[in-house]
Subunit: 466 residues, 2 copies
């Protein structure tokens, strides 16, 4: 059993001290890769400190990739040499799936759906109807691209909400966007060079790396992906969220969109993957046409998901393939079975077709607006308000909080964690460029219970400004 | 519009003639890759023949890979040059997802579940209970390996039915076995050499090829995979169904199983993927211990699925990783979200835990035994019974029908198709060895309606012996 002395911890909190001790032992090789860390309870008892202290230390080590967790088995020392630079730094996106949500007072990272907001009764009703009406169809294998009813419903939704004209046949259904990326690599080629946005949603790069395809980080300017760096990096396929970049909130203007399409048109191997993950929830401003809808050269693959708009635990995403890729897909990949079960495909199809999805989106948009207004009020009411500047507040389910402070970003995240607040910084989302202290926090407010909003902001400001 | 003359068709049937004309035009380049074939209705009208003739010709071209279909768009000429030898020959497994089931009188290939056999009312009841009891859990992101309740339920099931002792943490849930293969390639390495059984289930090789990893075909002797060819082909990872090989029905004896484990133990990079897809439905004989349960070297990855035992349209499969791979999985692949929705994971967990799955399997086993007895009776009663020999009748959901005839296997499949009977031959499942006329048909009888059994056998015998 590990033992550490807490006699001389200086100004560190208990959890910081413990975190540093373990981290040091991992870096020194005292704790070799694969070693199991003591259970929180035993460790706490042995060190005579509270389990919450252990939890905080473990959460920090987990967030920084020094340890990993296996559900019900515990925490283990990571192999730092195995990691390439992609997986080593703070892996904030990963924590949601492994960390225990009960240890946080408030979570500004999680994308989970508040159970109060999911239309359970409608969903149950539709599910029962489907089972009564469609027992034969429920047992008939789905085409590899997905059930036609669902694809028609999605095409209708896109026509109405996004002013996109796509035929249902172009739509391919899959169990989550991550799965569809895997399919796209097989469709577009393992020998292509893929590009992801820097800063950006890190998982996309992880998927490319895990599939052993070349992947480069493309810097953004204030209008999004820069054409020059696409050219200098010899990118074939660029993954981009032009309508609302995460986490910067950049909306790529129409001129840059045409430049992107122009870039893609120059070579047969070039494509743009347009990830339109949160288009349903833009709170203000006029909608901007998707790249897909202004693409006449069959260069854009559009992707969207119901994990944001309905529930993160319902794994249904889709992509829209241009015609020539659709043909290639059916010719080369149609041996794959559709990964979404018929029950959910038919239920979701009816949910959309009968107008429930539209109602749900409208209701959620109001809810999110209320959430945003409430959290803005809490920030304004805080004594530290003058040291805070908010941007991108109209752009969806999160905004950016710029803060004036001498503390490092890392210190802020750690102190917030100690206050029970889980948060990430814009600097965490950069890969190539080192942006250590941007002093910009990402506030995902969508599913924070309104009742704890004020206290959450108070604690966050404590962590930042105390 | 294509026009063909039916003036001089010799002894060919109309559909055979049409099939040959189109095939010839494709091979000659008259019909270039990507060209759309006329719709069945228009084509039939133009040629003044019935649409069923067109359907039969298209189905044959589809089965042989000369054309492909896009749902609701129609049929298109395949690019024969693009295909490697893996996808070019008869792709019987693929047809199920694209062909119209209504055009067959009886289907001896399909794995679809008869809607009468799915426990809809129990499923609905459990789904409602889950929604009432677990709204919070339903909205909480699943760990990447799957919901713990489901993994515990599966571990319990395996203990009881398969005498396997696995911990729930070793189980990884995914949306279908095909998806899990993709994960395994990322886990075990793109630079490894994978082996698949020859003959065997062709989809596995397609997945390896599509992911651009080296894949060799390993011949079987009467005891299954041969160790010599694993060595000579430098295989790292062999995919095998030792408990019941499809389609030959070979059950690998315990001595060969130990040889396989011995082979795997010789190198750090070697593993065995044990696909135990139909272990629940062996109708007779004593159960044989799984490879996984006699593996003490952490060399076996066990896979199984609910698509066979529950419904082909419920996409839930799982794999059991040995401990050291489990660690590697959580360290390198835990950024992936679980691909099965929480609704189905919780419902299935309760379905297993409350004993419904056991009841379902027992009921289905009786049903399949009844199906088998009925079809055997129909065969015995047929005037051609003396020219038919049945093997592997006790081994699950299909058997092999050996026939004495001068016709080629291909001619039999074609004539059966003309009789409205969809069937495949053992020779279709060979890759390296050319086994053109084994005169062995694979009879998947599991979901054939009992009412049409007699007529189906009569028509099949017509096709074979007429």
């Amino acid at each position: 059993m590990l033992t550490y002395s807490f006699a001389d911890i200086g100004s560190d909190t208990l959890y910081e001290h413990l975190y540093k001790c373990i981290k040091n032992d991992i870096l020194q090789g005292v704790l070799p890769p694969g070693d199991k860390l003591p259970s929180k309870r035993t460790f706490a008892k042995n060190l005579n400190i509270s389990t919450i202290t252990i939890e905080n230390a473990y959460a920090q080590l987990l967030a920084e990739g020094y340890i990993y967790s296996i559900p019900k088995k515990g925490y283990f020392v990571a192999d730092l040499n195995r990691k390439n630079q992609d997986t080593a730094p703070i892996r904030t996106e990963n924590i949601a799936t492994v960390a225990n949500p009960d240890i946080y007072f408030a979570d500004f990272i999680s994308n989970q759906t508040n159970p109060d907001n999911f239309p359970f009764s409608v969903w149950t009703k539709l599910m029962r109807e489907i089972i009564l009406d469609k027992s034969r169809e429920l047992m008939t294998n789905s085409p590899c691209g997905g059930i036609m009813e669902l694809r028609c419903a999605i095409a209708g939704h896109l026509r109405e909400f996004r002013n996109m004209s796509v035929s249902s046949e172009q739509i391919i259904i899959g169990a989550g966007t991550e799965y569809l990326y895997g399919l796209l690599i097989q469709l577009l080629g393992h020998n292509r060079i893929y590009g992801v946005e820097d800063p950006g949603y890190r998982k996309v790069a992880q998927i490319y790396r895990s599939n052993q395809v070349a992947c480069h980080y493309i810097p953004l300017d204030e209008n999004g992906v820069t054409i020059d760096s696409l050219e200098t990096n010899n990118i074939d396929i660029i993954h981009t969220s032009v309508s609302h970049h995460y986490p910067t909130g950049i909306i790529t203007p129409i001129s840059r969109r045409y430049e992107l399409l122009g870039w893609a048109a120059k070579s047969e191997t070039r494509y743009i993957i347009e990830d339109d993950y949160d288009s349903e929830f833009r709170l203000m401003g006029k909608p901007i046409p998707s790249l897909q809808s202004i693409d006449v050269m069959e260069k854009v693959i559009y992707m969207n998901t119901f994990t944001k708009s309905l529930a993160s635990t319902i794994r249904v995403s889709y992509m829209i393939l241009p015609n020539h890729l659709l043909h290639k897909f059916y010719e080369t990949l149609s041996f794959y079975s559709c990964t979404v079960s018929n029950f959910e495909q038919y239920t979701l199809a009816r949910f959309i077709k009968e107008g429930y999805f539209e109602k749900h989106i409208n209701r959620m948009r109001n809810y999110y607006r209320g959430q945003r207004d409430l959290i803005m009020q809490c920030i304004q009411d805080n004594p530290n308000a003058v040291k805070i500047r908010i941007t991108e507040e109209d752009s969806g389910l999160h905004f950016l909080m710029h803060i004036s402070t001498d503390k490092t970003d890392k210190a802020i995240v750690q102190e917030a964690l100690h206050q029970g607040i889980r948060i990430s910084c814009l600097s965490d989302y950069y890969h190539n460029e080192t942006k250590e202290n941007l002093h910009t926090l990402i506030i995902n407010y969508s599913n924070l219970p309104p009742t704890i909003m004020k206290e959450a902001i108070t604690r966050l400001c404590e962590a930042i400004f105390r």
